[in-house]
Structures are given as C-alpha cells and as structure tokens.
C-alpha cells in the first residue's frame, strides 16, 4: 500500500523520498519533525523501499531525527536499503549507530 508514513504498534514508519539529496532533505526534515512531535512513539523506522539514491545530505537528516527520538528514550532503524544506500550507510558510519535491516 502506498503511504508517506504510518503508525503501527507504537512505531512510526517514515517512507523516504525517491532520491534523498539536499533538495529532498529540506522537506523531509520538517515533515519528519512534525510527525515525531504529533506521534510520540517509542520507535522510528526509516523505510527506503522507494528510495533509489541517497547522498551525505541524508545522513544529517537521519542523525538529527535519531537524536530527537532517542531523547525521548526511543529507538531507530532503517529498512529496505538498496546497495547504493547500504554503501552510504557503511562509509558514513551510520550503520554503527543504528540498526539496519
């Protein structure tokens, strides 16, 4: 089913944009922070199922949202990464600070 975000069992799942670059990051930050405020969930999932590309601009967005959720004791993970995004996670060290599925 198509969705931009969904809430399931106390978990907020955010669908990442098709290409997560600086351009998309600006919109995503605001949208994600609004949702995190509205739904004070225990865990946050970044869903990359529809994302074909991510550069270092995506790292800042993800780390920033992780801080916001973890501040409230929540936990974060990233799912459905393609090979390019996997490498970005690897090189940036994001893989060390969050669960990747």
């Amino acid at each position: 089913m198509d969705y931009k975000y969904k809430k399931e069992y106390g978990c907020l799942i955010l669908k990442m944009p098709a290409e997560l670059d600086h351009h998309a990051a600006e919109f995503l930050k605001e949208e994600a922070d609004g949702l995190i405020l509205r739904y004070p969930v225990r865990s946050l999932v970044f869903d990359f199922a529809d994302t074909s590309f991510m550069d270092s601009s995506g790292i800042g967005v993800i780390i920033g949202r992780c801080k916001n959720v973890r501040f409230g004791g929540g936990y974060v993970k990233a799912v459905h990464l393609n090979e390019q995004i996997r490498r970005v996670f690897q090189i940036s060290g994001l893989r060390k600070i969050m669960e990747v599925e």
Binding site: D21, H22, K29, F53, I91
Partner: protein, 143 residues
C-alpha cells in the same frame, strides 16, 4: 578496444532542484563507458556531493551558477564541478571527515569524504571570494 574520447560542459543555476538533474546528466554522459551499477552510483553520488557544496557553501543558498565539465578518455572519466562563490579558506580542514561550517543545517561534514570514497582522486582548487573547482577522476572497469 576502441579508444573513446568525449567531452561535455554544462552550466545551471545553483538551485537544490538541479542537484538531481546534474548527477543524472553526468551519469547519462558516462553511461557510454558501460560502467557497472556500482560505478555509476559512485559517480552520481560524488557529483551530487560536489554540486550540493556549491549551493550550500559556495553560494550559501543565494543565486549563482554552477559549471560542470566532464571528459572521457579511454576508460578514464574526469569531472570538474565549479562555482564562483565564496571559496574555501582552509581546504584541508574542509576535506576532513565530519568537519562542517554549517552544523545548524544538520550537514554531516561527509561531502568531501564521500567524493574521496567513491572516486579515485579528488583535487580541490579554491580561493576565498573567487570560487572553488573540484576535479574528480575515476577509471571505469578496474573493480
């Protein structure tokens, strides 16, 4: 093997909406070399980082133009991304992983580190108030 030689230049507005255009255009240009999916992704990511730097740092999100020059010779690709913006005072510091002058924008400071990770060489020429030119090279088909 036939020796391939090709060149292209492009100029566009330093707008974030052009980041996707720039990396796809360069990707399409180098596609003639039959890069692997990974090699093509490497080049597109590196171009995206360089163009984003021009927009955020070179022009500090104000109006300006960005130039990309790309050449292919044999299985070697050379890509230069240039702005005539603010310039970099300390290039070594700018290239250091995790260093950023814009933490308030949640910049990770990984731009140059990514270019270096995904390309074979990255050269930076910059002068304060004159602008910056980043030249990246990669040999295709060497694993």
């Amino acid at each position: 093997m036939e020796s391939l030689k090709n060149e292209m230049k492009m100029e566009f507005l330093a707008a974030s909406s052009n980041e996707g255009f720039a990396r796809v255009a360069v990707g399409a240009f180098v596609a003639g070399l039959n890069p692997t999916v990974d090699e093509l992704a490497d080049i597109k990511t590196a171009v995206s980082e360089a163009v984003t730097n021009c927009i955020i740092h070179g022009y500090e999100q104000k109006e300006g133009h960005i130039w990309i020059q790309c050449s292919i010779e044999g299985n070697k690709v050379e890509i230069s991304v240039m702005d005539v913006g603010k310039g970099i005072a300390d290039i070594a510091q700018a290239r250091a992983p995790m260093f950023t002058t814009k933490p308030e924008l949640e910049r990770s400071g990984m731009g140059f580190a990514f270019m270096e990770a995904f390309m074979d060489t990255v050269d930076v020429v910059s002068e304060p108030r004159k602008g910056t030119c980043v030249t990246m090279r990669k040999t295709i088909g060497e694993g």
